[in-house]
């Protein structure tokens, strides 16, 4: 965990030789502590100190990559308990369970169906990433059927170490997560993982055993670890998840500094009831949630939640500037213009679509601000919006009329816009998108 300047100072040579560019070792230590200097700048630091310092600067929750290609995810790597403190970096992986007793044809059909569950939103592709392949003797064949028929990344789930070994070999290059390593088998699982160079998940009886197993795996040469605390009730699995995050970040306890895998599918058979389990765990810290099956009605809500929870709170999400046709507009369809704050775009486009009135929606770059703020900050001024409509957007090539609707909250810019758009009618739309349907139905272009 991060050391203080004084703690770092004690590990430095103490000669104040200035070779690092700082006047004293203490000054250099302070700069290191605040991230303003790199340890390499001191040529004389001992090997032992270097090791201690780099161990101390390792992330408190180890990031582990699972899978490969478009569906590779990272588990762990988080640095805060609350998203507003900084951000959550690595969105919870969402996966479905495949039993290896299923036929190859069944598995193929299932994972093809799962792979189709992809949703484009704010320029991001939302989708479940994982298939959790569970079983014994047929593990390798089942896992192979998953990767041959989909691009899903794989978590292997078998107590049978020989089965894990052959399945890991069958998925060479796919970087599956393998497990569970338990008190009974962790050494053997570690050997398999080392040979295949893949990460390991462990299943503990409780939080006490988590530390025993992470230490054991580390001694056996495994660093890339994901933890199942063994909890299988809504309350326990949630509180364990919180306890893990607190232990790593507040307690600075390395034995708990790992991401987690959770099994809503083992908490209830009912797919609908797996949703609140998963939702509580996406909110609070799970690295992976496993469901018994994947369907749009189940994963789409969780993907939206995940998008919301893992969005960087410092950065507004934006929609690309341009023309968005809605409901198949033609040259006589109305034109609306608004800002590129993604929420504004979503709400406005949703309402326009719901109105069933064919329309052109123009999104103007306003640095991700909503209408009211953009207007107040001068990012949605009359000249600017007028220029955009007339020249930059290219809408004039698509329409025969000369009218444009602006958001009610930006009513004040209509005069300036009309100056930029000679001969045009600038109509003032409603303030709230909810009133767009009524507005559009009554609106006629000039």
């Amino acid at each position: 965990m991060a050391l203080t300047g004084i703690q770092i100072f004690k590990l430095l040579p103490g000669t104040n030789c200035k070779k690092c560019g700082s006047p004293t070792c203490l000054a250099f230590a302070m700069n290191l502590a605040s991230g303003k200097a790199e340890l390499d700048a001191c040529p004389d630091v001992s090997e032992a100190s270097r090791e201690k310092l780099s161990a101390a600067s390792a992330p408190p929750i180890r990031p582990v990559t699972i899978g490969s290609g478009a569906t590779a995810i990272k588990v762990g790597g988080e640095t805060v308990q609350y998203r507003h403190e900084k951000t959550f970096f690595n969105p919870t992986g969402i996966g479905g369970l495949i039993e290896d007793s299923k036929s190859a044809a069944d598995i193929a059909a299932t994972v093809k169906r799962w792979q189709a569950l992809q949703y484009l939103r704010v320029g991001l592709n939302l989708r479940p990433e994982l298939a959790i392949v569970k079983g014994g003797p047929n593990l390798a064949a089942a896992a192979k059927a998953v990767v041959d028929n989909s691009d899903l990344s794989v978590v292997l789930y078998s107590e049978d170490v020989a089965a894990l070994k052959s399945a890991a070999e069958a998925l060479a290059g796919k970087n599956p997560l393998i497990g569970p390593a338990t008190a009974a088998n962790y050494k053997e699982v570690a050997e398999v993982a080392k040979a295949a160079k893949v990460p390991v998940w462990l299943k503990a009886k409780d939080l006490d055993e988590v530390a025993v197993l992470t230490k054991g795996l580390k001694e056996a040469g495994i660093n890339d670890i994901v933890v199942d605390t063994g909890a299988r009730t809504p309350k326990k699995v949630f509180q364990d998840s919180v306890a893990m995050r607190r232990a790593a970040l507040v307690g600075q306890n390395r034995d708990y500094g790992y991401g987690t895998i959770t099994f809503p599918n083992e908490i209830t058979d009912n797919l609908a009831l797996q949703v609140p389990v998963a939702a509580s765990l996406i909110a609070k810290y799970a690295g992976i949630v496993v469901l018994s099956d994947l369907d749009g009605a189940v994963v789409f809500p969780l993907l939206l939640q995940r998008l919301n929870i893992f969005t960087d709170p410092q950065r507004p999400m934006t929609q690309t500037e341009g023309i968005y046709p809605i409901n198949d507009p033609d040259e006589n369809s109305p034109v609306l213009v608004t800002t590129n704050f993604s929420l504004t775009y979503f709400i406005v486009s949703g309402e326009v679509e719901a109105s069933r009135v064919p329309s052109w929606l123009l999104i103007k770059d306003s640095e991700g601000l909503s209408v009211l703020t953009a207007w107040a900050a001068g990012k949605f001024s009359g000249d600017d919006v007028g220029q955009f409509v007339l020249k930059r957007s290219g809408i004039v090539d698509k329409i025969k009329h000369k009218s444009v609707i602006i958001p009610g909250y930006a009513a004040a810019i209509s005069g300036d816009m009309e100056e930029e758009l000679p001969g045009w009618k600038v109509a003032i739309g409603p303030r709230e998108a909810a009133h767009l349907t009524k507005f559009l139905k009554e609106f006629s272009v000039a």
Partner: protein, 330 residues
């Protein structure tokens, strides 16, 4: 050594707010949501169902229309239905008074409220249309007419707190203070209301809930920060329970209204909408809500069951809950 969870010391707690003539208690948390290993959580989040004072007509999502078939258009029987479905409270929204729509007046709003109060004996929330002038007109009249019933009245904003606040104070109601997803603005409005003389245990905070995938994250983080201010910094201007009007945010989204035939990847429409509502409800529970206003009775049923297990422990036995049909994708 046995594992010990790192705990937090809290210096404040959320006020307990008794609502309705029947006095259901909201709030009272002395720890972050569901962290009962480090503080008392006496009252679980309560669940209300939202009803309208008119027939919603075409704009109402099909799964909701099906769930309330036969009672739409009559707030009394609709409210009764909501209570049958297990709602702790009923939220009557005065949709007909929207000046952009029917623009019904105070007398009609009072009549609709009367019908609901006659029909059910759970606490009632009466919610305006977030139009500063119209809400003053309707909610003021309702405050006066139903003196002493301890209705929950809102939304009150910094634009109309004086008028509605004074009426709520005079006639003994609880107010919903709505501010635009901002901790400081929430605090400011609470201070304004308390300066009017409204007691701290007569105010709920409405952080202006965004829909799942439509800005929920802003509200989520504001709620976490409100909780931190109330519990860790013991800020007595922010120790009010939070209310989230989330159901209508969910059901007005495009995705809740799309038919599965048109978008098979979104799955069964009824299940999808219900689970969107459940997912947001659980998220807001994790962020510290005290009162969720939901729309679909199946969402309420699932959320209620889940909150009980989440708070009290125990295994999911899950019989008789939503059965999600798996949608084939060609």
């Amino acid at each position: 050594m046995a594992f010990q969870v790192n705990t937090v010391k809290y210096s404040g707690k959320i006020n307990v707010i008794p609502v309705g003539a029947q006095k259901i208690n909201l709030g009272g948390q002395a720890a972050f949501p569901f962290y009962d290993f480090e503080g008392a959580l006496p009252n679980k989040p309560k669940l209300a169902l939202q009803i309208w004072d008119m027939d919603p007509g075409e704009s109402y999502a099909a799964p909701l229309a099906a769930a309330y078939e036969g009672v739409l258009g009559d707030p009394g029987t609709w409210a009764k239905k909501a209570v049958e479905y297990g709602a702790d409270m009923v939220c009557l929204t005065l949709k007909s008074t929207d000046p952009n729509d029917k623009n019904a007046g105070a007398a009609e709003a009072v009549a609709a409220t009367q019908k609901v109060l006659d029909a059910v004996d759970v606490p009632v929330i009466v919610f305006g249309v977030d139009n500063k002038d119209k809400d003053v007109e309707t909610l003021s009249a309702i405050c006066e007419k139903f003196a002493g019933k301890n209705l929950v009245i809102g939304p009150i904003t910094d634009k109309n707190y004086k008028q509605i606040g004074a009426q709520a104070l005079a006639y003994g109601h609880t107010v919903i203070a709505r501010s635009p997803i901002d901790v400081n603005l929430a605090k400011q409005l609470n201070i304004l209301l308390m300066d009017l003389g409204i007691k701290p245990d007569k105010i709920l905070i409405d952080p202006n809930t965004g829909g799942l995938g439509y800005g929920m994250e802003y509200c989520y983080s504001v709620m976490e920060r409100l909780q931190a201010a109330a519990l860790l910094q013991a800020d007595d201007k922010l120790q009010q329970p939070i209310i989230n009007m989330l159901g209508e945010e969910i059901w007005k989204t495009k995705e809740a209204n799309q038919k599965v035939e048109d978008v098979p990847t979104l799955g069964d429409q009824n299940s999808r909408g219900v689970l969107m509502e459940v997912t947001e409800a659980v998220s807001l529970c994790a962020a510290g809500t005290s009162l969720l206003v939901l729309s679909h009775p199946e969402s309420l049923k699932i959320v209620r069951y889940y909150i009980d297990l989440w708070a009290d422990g125990g295994e999911i036995k899950g019989d008789g809950y939503l059965n999600v049909p798996i949608t084939p994708i060609a």
